[in-house]
């Protein structure tokens, strides 16, 4: 490990089992075990369920390699389920990796939650001691810093009041003040700033930056709030489905995350890219294209005409397609569905044009995802056969109301309210 490197991960992998772990009761586990040694069928197995399928396992983090240098302020972004929190959990040793390893230099202080271990009955001062000790400080260290902590928390007046009487804002301030004064060389924060007011958020970010710049501390910060990432971080990685898809400067990372990178494309050739793994990959999507468009802007009531070209890798019966739409923050907006629209044999290629009515979607940029699925026979569940990142689109809409539509109102237009007589 190089002298300047404070965190190094190699092939870091975390696997979770899906569904119920064990049966939860000793009796059932013993039954299953007894059946197994007699070579009988497990009485607790659901009928028709195969015992170990790939889909039972889920890689929350998939061989992550990362090096972080001293004094860096690393932002970690990615959509929900990308593995950010898993990564922080592994780093803070709450749980152990399934494979690979982490090496770090010095102490890690992690704030995965605000005020971990705060006890409502104890006073602010007592909680500073308790929380500080939980985060790894000794009593003497805390005593030497308690005045600074109290001052930073802006809770001087209430410091000898039980924290159960605190407002949630004060609670956060106090908790953050403790974390900010830790002596640890590495600070880990998971969206903890999301709760404080704007002024305090700014103060915290400045404090973090100051710690990194003047004392060479290393800060790892996870957030969905791109503004705080911009203000705090000097480097950023983007995670997607447990994999690192980008590592570098903050602005590019944010662009990639928000999907505005592939912003204006009207067609995409899939050559193995932009695909997500699925268990039964019976279809290979080759190309997606907006029909007779030069850009991906759609005006008013204009429908999206989407050409998809795919190849059957097995016999396909009653194929279904779902097109999911996300807004620029990766929150799902809606989905278009067509069921049982196609059957074909192995090796065929097929091309179809789909018409999507997006008139109800409000103005703005959207990302999409194409999911092909079917069921092999009527008794089985639906399974995905191909999942791909789709083309984005921008909706442009003349204002229908005098008061312009705000993004915070949602992403779907409804009919005007009518007066009921």
């Amino acid at each position: 490990m190089r002298e300047n490197c404070v965190i190094k991960t190699e092939n870091l992998t975390k696997e979770y089992k899906l569904g119920v772990i064990g049966s939860g009761t000793l009796r059932h586990d013993l039954q299953s075990w007894y059946a197994r040694i007699r070579g009988r069928e497990n009485p607790n197995l659901k009928i028709g369920a195969s015992q170990f399928t790939d889909s039972d396992r889920f890689l929350a983090l998939d061989s992550l390699n990362l090096e972080v240098n001293r004094g860096e302020r690393l932002g970690i972004i990615g959509s929900n389920g990308a593995g950010k929190s898993t990564f922080l959990k592994l780093l803070s040793r709450v749980t152990a990796p399934t494979d690979g390893e982490i090496k770090f230099r010095g102490r890690i202080a992690s704030m995965l939650e605000v005020g971990t271990g705060f006890h409502p009955e104890l006073t602010g001062r007592e909680n500073i001691y308790l929380n500080g000790a939980i985060l790894g400080m000794s009593k003497a260290e805390i005593t030497s810093k308690i005045d600074k902590i109290i001052e930073f928390s802006e809770c001087e007046k209430f410091i000898d009041t039980p924290v159960k009487r605190y407002s949630s804002g004060m609670f956060v301030k106090l908790a953050f003040a403790v974390a900010a004064h830790l002596d640890a060389e590495i600070l880990i924060m998971d969206e903890v700033l999301a709760v404080g007011d704007a002024k305090f958020q700014k103060k915290c970010i400045n404090k973090m930056r100051e710690l990194a710049l003047s004392e060479d501390r290393t800060v790892l910060y996870v957030s969905h709030n791109m503004n705080t990432i911009r203000q705090l971080c000097s480097r950023c990685i983007v995670l997607e489905q447990g994999k690192k898809i980008f590592d570098g400067d903050v602005e590019t990372a944010i662009k990639i995350y928000l999907g505005s990178d592939s912003g204006n494309a009207v067609s995409v050739e899939y050559d193995g890219q932009y695909k997500e793994p699925c268990r039964r990959n019976d279809i290979e999507l080759l190309r997606a294209e907006y029909f007779e468009k030069t850009d991906n802007k759609f005006y008013g009531d204009e429908p999206v005409l989407l050409n998809l070209l795919w190849k059957n890798k097995a016999d396909i019966k009653n194929l279904c397609l779902r097109i999911e739409v996300f807004d620029s923050h990766r929150y799902p907006v809606t989905a278009f569905i067509i069921e049982n629209f196609y059957s074909g044999s192995c090796g065929d290629t097929a091309s179809m044009r789909f018409r999507l009515n997006i008139s109800r979607i409000v103005k703005g940029g959207y990302a999409t995802r194409y999911i092909f699925y079917d069921k092999q026979n009527p008794t089985l569940a639906f399974e995905n056969v191909e999942v791909a990142t789709g083309l984005g689109f921008t909706k442009i809409m003349p204002e229908q109301n005098e008061n312009p539509w705000q993004k915070s109102w949602g992403s779907v237009y409804m009919d005007k309210i009518e007066i009921d007589k």
Partner: protein, 280 residues
């Protein structure tokens, strides 16, 4: 001052990779947890910490009535109340150490899922907290013993009372050792909890708490004393009340069993703690 020690985290954890030095560096946290518990147990109760004393008095009183007066079990001439109280306080010390250690993983799941510190901090602070409670109860018991002694009752405290710290450590380690094993198992099998509370009260009745060993038929006595908790209680009573006996051989067996249980408990605990948060 820069700390530049390199820590390695990986999927493997050696069977004996118990990091006691790290545990020592968290000693302040242990003390703070004890303080927190002391401050909080009796919050919003009328009598507050007085409960610590009322508890053994009440149960000793009930024992005196049921086992002493109604069932008429002999106490070898020792004042009944004192006899039951001696067994009672030591057993409740044992069972609370057991319960604290036994519920480590389940009752701390929230905090364990958010922050890392050596998990053994929890059972350790449990031992300390219970020791304080025990010492308070013991003090009352001891004063009572002296009162009986001075008033000429059949009570004979002797030189073995100096072994009190050893009695305490032995009891705490036994309870905690078994508790750690239980804690590691209950993360996966919740129904074990029911079994455990039942087992604990069963255990109390096979331990000479409500009767002296001398009341046990001769042929069962050897088996009875193999119960690692039995020789401690017997020796404790002998030291403070002069009833019963100290059986060196059984005490040695008990010490060995305790050592094995505690070591095993810590090893299992150490294995479970690294991943349990995924399954709890």
């Amino acid at each position: 001052m820069k700390n530049s020690e390199i820590t390695v985290v990986n999927s493997k954890r050696g069977l004996f990779s118990l990091n006691l030095r790290e545990l020592w560096s968290y000693r302040d946290l242990v003390v703070l947890f004890v303080k927190r518990d002391l401050k909080n147990v009796y919050k919003q109760t009328v009598l507050g910490p007085v409960w610590i004393i009322i508890n053994p008095f009440l149960s000793s009183f009930i024992f005196t009535v049921i086992f002493g007066m109604i069932a008429n079990i002999s106490t070898n001439g020792v004042p009944q109340f004192l006899f039951y109280m001696s067994g009672n306080i030591l057993w409740s010390y044992f069972s609370s150490c057991f319960n604290r250690a036994g519920s480590t993983f389940l009752s701390n799941a929230r905090i364990f899922s958010k922050v890392y510190f050596p998990r053994l901090v929890m059972p350790l602070s449990g031992i300390l907290y219970n020791s304080i409670t025990f010492l308070i109860q013991f003090l009352v018991f001891f004063i009572l013993t002296l009162v009986y002694f001075v008033s000429g009752q059949n009570v004979r405290p002797n030189i073995f009372i100096l072994a009190l710290p050893i009695f305490m450590i032995h009891t705490a380690f036994l309870g905690t050792g078994v508790g750690l094993i239980v804690s590691s198992l209950t993360t996966k099998y919740r129904d074990l909890n029911v079994l455990v509370s039942f087992g604990l009260s069963l255990w109390m009745y096979v331990t000479p708490i409500v009767y002296p060993v001398s009341q046990v038929p001769q042929n069962l006595r050897a088996i009875m004393l193999l119960n690692p908790a039995a020789p401690i209680i017997e020796a404790f009573r002998f030291a403070f009340l002069g009833s019963g006996s100290i059986e060196p051989m059984y005490i040695i067996i008990s010490v060995l069993v305790t050592a094995v249980l505690l070591t095993f408990g810590m090893l299992v605990f150490n294995q479970v703690e690294k991943n349990y948060i995924d399954t709890v």
